[in-house]
Symmetry: C2
Subunit: 328 residues, 2 copies
């Protein structure tokens, strides 16, 4: 990593909308060095008054549904409508150096080469707790740099959808029409999180099937009780390659914004998300400290198989491990 800048340098760079300062600051919050991370958090804290003025959209869907192509099309539509678009990704399984950066940029060629957009691949890390905090801080930094539309892509691994749901205003689920197996492959509970469904690849011979799928999804969505915020999820058809339907998606998101801002759920949800972030961070950091504790590691190594096989009570081992942790 390049020599660290001062807090003031990062701050003024970001506030001027300088991409390079923004990118470096995100590297800071993503760093594995404690000193970097602390500086990063301090930076976020100082920039906080300049954050929050964006619409945060989470985008998910199974692999193959066309998330990147959709984000490319939707992102270009948004740029051309005068929005300032930043794209972040969350993928707890991603490993830097495995080509994820190149991968992301290749997948969104036009958007990546457009100077108006800012694209940042998923931070690396094995635990979702760590990765979510990095993505949340990166999002705030983007907002401070003037981006008013944040798209957060989740790869749909592990619990990453829930993590994204907890940091965005609007959660969009991409689906495909298919031979009756529309819901196949989708993880349990995901559909219930969605504020909007998009049927992608609704073009050519697919149009008819997509319209039918739309009916099925609307029916399925009506099986669930209405959301607390009084929003009924909508279903739209798009073709990312033909770039149709983008305006409808944006209208849906804006309608959601208007509706939840007027009934108070917009700010209520954000306040809840902040508390949740705090609690999640504490849980994550406590567990991290716990897991790297020498005594704990020794105990777990000795006994984990016995826990799995039912020879040792999980509670009993948890208590021993906690004692060991607190006494160090």
């Amino acid at each position: 990593m390049k020599k660290r800048k001062s807090l003031e340098e990062y701050k003024s760079g970001i506030l001027k909308g300088d991409r390079s300062s923004l990118a470096q600051a995100i590297t800071l919050v993503e760093s594995t060095l404690e000193e970097d991370r602390k500086l990063g958090s301090q930076l976020v804290q100082e920039l906080l008054p300049k954050t929050g003025n964006s619409i945060r959209v989470g985008i998910t869907g199974v692999p193959g549904v066309g998330k990147s192509t959709f984000i490319e099309s939707f992102g270009m539509f948004l740029l051309n409508s005068g929005r300032h678009v930043a794209v972040l990704a969350i993928d707890p399984s991603s490993q830097k150096g495995k080509g994820s950066i190149l991968g992301d940029k290749t997948r969104m060629e036009q958007l990546a080469s457009d100077h108006r957009a800012f694209i940042r691949p998923s931070p690396s890390g094995n635990s979702l707790g760590g990765v979510s905090t990095k993505t949340r801080e990166a999002m705030l930094l983007c907002e401070a740099a003037g981006f008013d539309t944040i798209l957060i892509e989740t790869v749909g691994v592990g619990q990453s959808e829930t993590a994204v749901k907890n940091m965005v205003d609007f959660f969009l689920l991409l689906m495909l029409s298919g031979a009756g197996d529309e819901l196949q492959g989708i993880k349990k509970g995901i559909m219930e999180m969605a504020d909007g469904l998009v049927i992608n690849k609704a073009d050519g011979e697919n149009v008819k099937a997509s319209k039918l799928a739309r009916q099925h999804y609307l029916q399925a969505l009506h099986l669930f009780p209405p959301n607390e915020n009084n929003w009924y999820p909508k279903v739209e058809l798009v073709s990312s390659t033909e770039r149709t339907g983008m305006e409808e998606i944006w209208k849906m998101i804006k309608a959601f914004e208007e509706s939840t801002k007027s009934n108070g759920f917009w700010s209520k949800t954000r306040a809840n998300q902040r508390f949740k972030w705090f609690e999640e961070s504490v849980h994550h950091m406590l567990f991290e400290e716990f897991s790297k504790n020498e005594g704990v590691r020794k105990l777990l190594k000795e006994h984990e198989n016995e826990v799995a096989s039912g020879k040792i009570s999980p509670q009993w081992l948890a208590q021993r491990a906690l004692e060991s942790f607190l006494n160090n």
Copy 2:
């Protein structure tokens, strides 16, 4: 509380199937005194080789669906089939002294007065983490005392369904037929957790509607992908007051047992549940220690409103609080 017995006294009492020893031992694991709880955990640890030989069934449904009446009918059916039935409940919102014991016993009059059954109301406690550990330990104690069928009722508050799902072999969801609003009131994600659905009150004029509801549910369930364990949830009709359908429920549960035992998911699920229990316990106990830390409490009191309103970064506060915790 009565004078504490020795570990050996509890142990031998429970292994003899003595109800009073069992009840007292459960009081021990439910105690708020650390000394009691430690003795309780030690007891569970020592009895562990005698546990696990039961079928653990979670039962949930919205208030008014008739959970207690169902458990009474189903419990009596099981007793008369020669099963040894223990009924536990989980309700993080319950407060001892508010009549929850009396309430439970009144609601299951026949079962409660049958000497073959063991009924224990929900332990008190405000945090689900604490309550789940107590219920899990109580379940193991019941098994050591010879109960081979554990019914765990959840009241459907907060995240209690997930907690119960994580401690049982089979998860049963009770529903009602109704005028097209069968799913109303049911919390998101619950239906997807169910291994079996029961339509209660399928009697008299309700029979026709219940049969129709059964079709709807079967359709809805087919929208979801099959479970990893290859089990397809079934839907059965029962009348708890007329006591019909009980045998079908039991057959469904036994079919599940047979199927998952033969494909290995029975023991795999239990091993996963043990690990999850360990992790949850650690998270819960760490957070408990954290929350009662003086410095942490002071920080939170000072800053929680600023977190909610977005004036302080949740991450920044989490780090300060963690430092304060680790330095004490």
